[in-house]
Amino acid sequence: MEKFRLFPVQASTLAPEVDHLLYFMLAVTVFFTLLIFGAIFYFAVKYRRRSENELPHAQHTGYTLEILWSVIPFGITMVMFTWGASIFFTASRPPNDAIQIYAVGKQWMWKLEHLEGQREINELHIPVGIPVRITMASEDVIHSFFVPAFRTKQDVVPGRYSTTWFTATKPGKYHLFCAEYCGTNHSGMVGWVYVMEPKDYQDWLSGGAAEGSMADNGKKLFEQLACNNCHKEDSSGRGPTLVGLFGKQVQLAGGGSVLADEAYFRESILQPQAKIVYGFEPVMPTFQGLVTEEQVVQLVEYVKSLGPKPGTGPVDTGQKPAAKKSSIAGSAPANR
C-alpha cells in the first residue's frame, strides 16, 4: 500500500493551479468555520441563562451588520468565481501543439489509440512535459475520463466527441478512473496513465506491435468502405474532396458555414445529410451502425492527415466548384 496522504500528487501543469485555489478556499472555510464555532461557543457560555426569569433586551438597530455580512462574503465569492473560471478556461482549451490521442469509452473499459497506431486498453502512455489532447467518444453510456493527479475530468457523452487535455509534469504511474456512473462494473473501468520521459515514450511508440498508424488504418477503411469512389483527391468526385479540409470553414448548402473539425467529420460520416457542403447533392449514405467509434476516429484521423493544403478543395477560398444543384428542397440560394 502506498503511504497515507492528505493531498493527491501534483503531476500536471493544472494540478498546482487547482491546488492553489484549494488552499485559498480552505483558508476561507477554516476562517469562517472557526469564526462561527467560536462565536457560538463564546456567546453560549457568556450569555448562558443564569436565572429562570431573566429577560434579555432584544435590540436590532439598522441594517449595517446584515449589509456588512452580505457584501463581504459576496466579495470573497467573486474572487472564487473569477479564479475558478480562469482555471476552467485554461483547462478547456487544448494548446495547438498538443499531441493527439483518441479514447473510446465502453462498458467497462477505456480504449486508447495513438496516432502512430499503438492501441491500449485501460493504459495510457504519454510523454512528460508535452501537452496531450484526448478526443473521446463513447460506444454506449456516459463515461467520464478522470485523472486525479492531473486534476482533469471530462464526461464522454455518446453521440459526440468530448475533449480533455493536460501536460504531465512528473514521470510516474497515475490512476485513470471512470467518474460517471456507467453500470455494473463502473468501479472496474479504471486504468493507469504512465508518464514517461519523451525519449522513453518514443521508444515505447516504436516498440509496440502497431499495425500501421491511425491514418494508415483509416485509409484502409476509407478504401474498404469505398469512400474514395466519391471523395477523390481532386474535385471530380460526387462528393467534395477531403484534401486540405481540416481546420477550414466549409460553406454549407442553405447558407452558413461550419468549421471542419473532428466533430464535423464524425457527424458527416454518421449523419451525412446533417450538413451538406455547398454545391453538392445529399447522396451520401450513412455509416451509422456500419462503423464503430474506434473506426470513426481512424477515418477522422485519415481525413485530418490529408492535411491543410490551401488553395484546393471546395472550402472557403472563394472559388466554388461548378454548381451541381441546390440540395435541400428549395432552401439553398441560386448559384449563378
Binding site: G254, Q271, Q273, P282, T286, A329, S331
Partner: protein, 225 residues
C-alpha cells in the same frame, strides 16, 4: 370528529370562517395547480425548443406532414368548448340550474369531438408509419441518416399531444361528475366553486393547445412545398 364542531356545509367547510374565504382558497389553489401544469408542460416545451433549434429543416418537413386544416378545425372545436365552459360558469354565477347542465353537457360534447379527431389523427400516423421507435418508421423527403431527427419530432408530437389529451380525458371525467352533481341540483349562485375551478382547468388545457397547434403544425411548413 369533535361534537362541538359547527355543522359543515359544502359552501363552508369547518376549517374556514366565511364562504368568501373558502372561495378565495379554492381559486388560489386551482391557480397554483395550473402553475404546476405550466411547469409540467414547460419541460416538454424546453425539449421542443432545443431540438427544433438543432434540426429546423427536418422539423419543417415533419411538421408539414401533419394536416393543418384538421388541426385548425380541431382548435376551433376546443375554443368552442371553452366558450360553453365559460357559459356554464356564468350560469353558475346566475344560479340558472338548467343552463348549467346544458352548457356542461355541451362542453363535454365538444371535448369528446376534439379527442375523437385527435384519435383519428394519431391513427393516420400509425398508417403512415410515423411512429418513432418502429423499424418501419419512414418520413418522406428526409434523408435516411436524418430519419432519427424526424423520429424525434414525432416523439415530441406524441408526448405533447398525448399528455394534452390525457389532461382532456381527466377534464372529461371531472365534467361527468359535475354533470351528475348538477342534475342533483347541487349548484346555486352561492355555491358554484367546483364549476368555476373546473372552468379554470379546462381553459388552461385549451391554452396549452393554443400553443401546441402552431408549434407542431404550423411553424416553417411554408418551407416545404
Amino acid at each position: 370528529m369533535a361534537d362541538h364542531a359547527p355543522a359543515e356545509t359544502l359552501a363552508l367547510r369547518v376549517q374556514f370562517d366565511t364562504e368568501a374565504q373558502q372561495k378565495d382558497a379554492s381559486t388560489l389553489g386551482m391557480w397554483l395547480f395550473l402553475i404546476t401544469e405550466i411547469m409540467f408542460f414547460g419541460g416538454m416545451f424546453t425539449v421542443y425548443t432545443v431540438y427544433r433549434s438543432w434540426y429546423p429543416d427536418v422539423f419543417a418537413i415533419a411538421s408539414s406532414s401533419l394536416n393543418e386544416i384538421i388541426g385548425a378545425l380541431n382548435t376551433g372545436v376546443l375554443l368552442l368548448s371553452s366558450f360553453t365552459m365559460v357559459m356554464a360558469v356564468r350560469a353558475g354565477q346566475l344560479g340558472q340550474r338548467k343552463a348549467i347542465l346544458i352548457f356542461l353537457i355541451l362542453t363535454l360534447l365538444f371535448g369528446g369531438i376534439f379527442l375523437g379527431v385527435k384519435g383519428y389523427e394519431w391513427n393516420q400516423k400509425f398508417e403512415e408509419h410515423h411512429i418513432p421507435g418502429q423499424a418501419a418508421f419512414h418520413l418522406e423527403g428526409v434523408a435516411p441518416s436524418d430519419q432519427g431527427h424526424a423520429q424525434l419530432f414525432f416523439s415530441i408530437y406524441f408526448a405533447m399531444t398525448g399528455l394534452h389529451a390525457l389532461h382532456m380525458v381527466i377534464g372529461v371525467g371531472i365534467l361527468l361528475t359535475l354533470i351528475v352533481q348538477a342534475r342533483k341540483g347541487r349548484f346555486s349562485a352561492s355555491y358554484y366553486t367546483p364549476i368555476d375551478v373546473t372552468g379554470l382547468y379546462w381553459h388552461f388545457v385549451d391554452v396549452i393547445w393554443i400553443f401546441l397547434f402552431p408549434l407542431l403544425y404550423l411553424i416553417d411548413r411554408h418551407l416545404v412545398k
